[in-house]
């Protein structure tokens, strides 16, 4: 399983996401998932700031889309 598939499962399967947050390496081992060490380290860093990660997309888009004089959502 690749990083993107694991992240997607974390986003859509609360049980898996909770297990990963409690014990990332143990959960991956139990599920037979192999990631590169740098990917595991990156996931740990991401989970330590998970709220910011969830808001990455909207956080970047919001100021541009919703406050841009060029874009009026009422007419889109």
């Amino acid at each position: 399983m690749k990083l993107e598939q694991i992240v997607h499962r974390m986003a859509t399967d609360e049980g898996f996401a909770s297990a990963v947050r409690k014990d990332l390496e143990g959960t991956l081992a139990r599920e037979g998932i192999h990631l590169r060490p740098e990917e595991i380290s990156a996931l740990k860093s991401t989970l330590s700031g998970a709220d910011e990660a969830r808001d990455l997309i909207s956080g970047l888009l919001d100021p541009v889309i919703w406050h841009s004089p060029q874009f009026d959502p009422r007419t889109s």
Binding site: A42, L60, V64
Partner: protein, 290 residues
């Protein structure tokens, strides 16, 4: 390569304050490698000219909205300006001291060939996979920023094994910039007057979504304003669907991975110095919101 170096959005020449910090990469890498940054100036100037040319060609090939300075000229003359920039870059490289100049010139234009090959793939493959997108990013932004750092470090006269670490650092930084560009593109598409996306290039967030989402989720995204070709209208529904699929988590994980990879490579090659600190800070600065 979304940032113009030739002019600000209104067509005025870019001021010093508007110039991005990574323009100094060759000089900083030379300094971090123990050299006088002046030694890297010809390579730095040639690299900046190539960046400006690549940005201009990218814009005309993608059909992006023109910048103010070339809007009255049109894409044909703008492409010709890019050719002039490439030729000037080659002349600059050829004016440096022997024997370094032949190696430098070869490295520059091998990188340009690699980038052209990836650009051809980008322009001709309608729905590249997520892996394809990463390969293209590595062969374009990664290779180009790797070149800047390699050229700067090499000007300091260090061993080639150490030069390769600077190259890895630059490649990581280039990919971080690509993530930032792709997120900005998500925000920018749909803003033009015709209501169409500015370009049809697949972005990393959409490529991630298409690689993991169910057919139902893809249909849902299409129904609120996006299509599988990566064109996307700005819409709260689109943002929610991308967020629920873990797009933010995935890109953040990739950002952490690239920062770690870049910092690790740099620390293998450079001794503690102010230049090293500035290079490490640059890794943390891109993309700006993470």
């Amino acid at each position: 390569m979304r940032q113009s170096l030739l002019a600000d959005p209104h067509g005025a020449p870019a001021s010093r304050a508007q110039r991005p910090p990574w323009l100094r990469l060759p000089l900083l890498c030379c300094q971090a490698a123990g050299g006088d940054p002046g030694l890297a100036e010809p390579a730095a100037a040639a690299w900046v000219l190539l960046y400006a040319a690549a940005h201009l060609l990218d814009s005309t090939q993608d059909g992006d909205p023109p910048e103010a300075w070339w809007e009255p000229l049109g894409p044909g003359p703008a492409s010709n300006v890019a050719t002039g920039l490439i030729a000037t870059s080659a002349l600059l490289l050829g004016s440096g001291p022997r024997p370094a100049r032949s190696r430098l010139t070869q490295d520059f234009f091998q990188t340009v060939l690699q980038m052209s090959s990836a650009q051809h793939f980008d322009l001709t493959v309608p729905t590249p996979s997520l892996d394809d997108c990463w390969r293209m990013a590595e062969a374009k932004s990664g290779a180009f920023f790797g070149l800047a750092c390699r050229a700067g470090a090499r000007a300091a006269g260090i061993d080639e094994a150490l030069v390769s670490h600077y190259s890895s650092y630059g490649a990581s930084l280039g990919l971080l910039l690509q993530i930032g560009d792709d997120l900005s593109d998500l925000a920018a598409v749909g803003v033009d007057a015709a209501g169409r996306a500015g370009h049809g290039r697949m972005t990393l967030p959409i490529a991630y979504f298409l690689s993991v989402a169910s057919a139902d989720a893809v249909c849902e995204l299409n129904s609120v304003g996006a299509d599988p070709g990566g064109l996307l209208r700005p819409d709260r529904g689109v943002v929610e669907i991308l967020r629920e699929s873990g797009t933010g988590l995935y890109l953040t994980a990739k950002v952490h991975e690239l920062r770690q990879r870049g910092a690790c490579a740099l620390r293998r090659a450079a001794k503690p110095s102010p230049a090293l600190e500035q290079l490490l800070e640059m890794l943390e600065s891109f993309p700006p919101a993470v």
